[in-house]
């Protein structure tokens, strides 16, 4: 642990830290969950992120990645394990990967891994996760089955949640549509890829996960 992490840990311990120990990054495939998680880890830890792979191919993340993070903003300090989860979908078809120039054998293997990853992610959200960063691609319609089901599940468990309207840098982004879809939860427009407005996201995360707002 580096000096900055030790300093953050000391601050966290001094202020009593956060009770939320496990935060899941959830959302549909290709929303930008891994890109956000990488940015957060780079901004708040000294850990390497080379093993976190993001791409335009759906289900690039097929196994959850977990990292310890200590985050301090004007709202306080939160210390949690962040879990970058595979994108949730109701179907997985290997032909989807073949379209991205992946050969059939690898595509089938990728499908198998993706199904296991989605199943695990669903299980954790019901049993394990204590807070959620929910990532939505703001160029897409937010009124999808997966989004309404997952947000409904988060609400049924009374979990604190921050919604990120990601990809705000895209020309066809509509972050207000995301905010209006789930007005009961704090929504922050960001571009995780460019690091745009991430400070506001961190501020909202600490506010929500220290019990300041949800």
């Amino acid at each position: 642990m580096g000096i900055i992490s030790r300093l953050r840990q000391s601050v966290s311990e001094f202020f009593g830290g956060s009770e939320i120990e496990k935060v899941g990054v959830y959302g549909p495939p290709n929303a930008g969950k891994t890109t956000f998680t990488k940015q957060l880890i780079e901004d708040w830890t000294e850990q390497q992120t080379d093993d976190l792979s993001a791409s335009e191919v759906p289900h690039e993340t097929r196994k959850a990645e977990k990292r310890q993070v200590d985050m301090t903003t004007e709202h306080g300090t939160v210390s949690f394990e962040i879990v970058d989860t595979p994108g949730v979908s109701t179907s997985v078809n290997y032909e989807e990967f073949v379209k991205h120039d992946i050969d059939k054998e690898k595509a089938v293997q990728r499908s198998q891994e993706a199904t296991e990853g989605v199943a695990e992610a669903m299980h954790w959200l019901r049993e394990d996760i204590e807070g959620v960063v929910y990532v939505i691609d703001s160029t897409e319609d937010p009124f999808t089955q997966v989004n309404t089901m997952l947000v409904g599940l988060i609400e049924s468990r009374d979990l604190p949640v921050v919604i990120l309207a990601n990809k705000k840098d895209k020309e066809d982004a509509n972050t207000e549509r995301v905010r209006n879809a789930f007005p009961q939860h704090p929504t922050v427009p960001v571009s995780a890829l460019n690091g745009d407005n991430m400070e506001a996201a961190y501020s909202q995360i600490t506010e929500t996960f220290t019990g300041g707002d949800n």
């Binding site: 179907s91 997985v92 078809n93 019901r126």
Partner: protein, 125 residues
């Protein structure tokens, strides 16, 4: 595989134990049934369904998962007013919503969502 449309209520499924519920749905869609649920499944039930669907997918086989869609007056899409006709009743106990669950690809094979909703409407009449 013959496609059948089954109309049922969310209460029936929501009152079932999760394992029985998921087995019930997966068996029915495996038989080619398109399930139309009046009302909404509880999110916990739906998450169990997705989890178990994932374990039943055969990556190289003919089951690649489920099509699940909610249609309702509080959703952005309401299929041009067909919902009211389909639900065909005055009470509002289910919030004017319905969910369609089928094997992935089954809806497209039947001509798309509008075609399915028109068929449901015909059944109701």
């Amino acid at each position: 595989m013959d496609t059948q449309i089954k109309l049922t209520s969310a209460e029936k499924y929501n009152s079932m134990e999760s394992a029985m519920f998921t087995r019930n749905i997966l068996d029915e869609v495996d038989d080619g049934t398109i399930i139309v649920i009046s009302g909404s499944l509880e999110p916990t039930k739906e998450s169990h369904l997705i989890e178990h669907t994932m374990y039943n997918i055969e990556p190289d086989g003919d089951f690649s998962g489920l099509f699940i869609k909610s249609i309702g007056e509080d959703k952005q899409e309401n299929n041009s007013g067909l919902l009211g006709k389909v639900l065909n009743r005055d009470d509002d106990t289910d919030g004017g919503e319905m969910q369609i669950i089928a094997r992935s690809g089954a809806i497209e094979a039947e001509g798309g969502e509008s075609e399915i909703i028109a068929k449901i409407s015909d059944i109701q009449e």
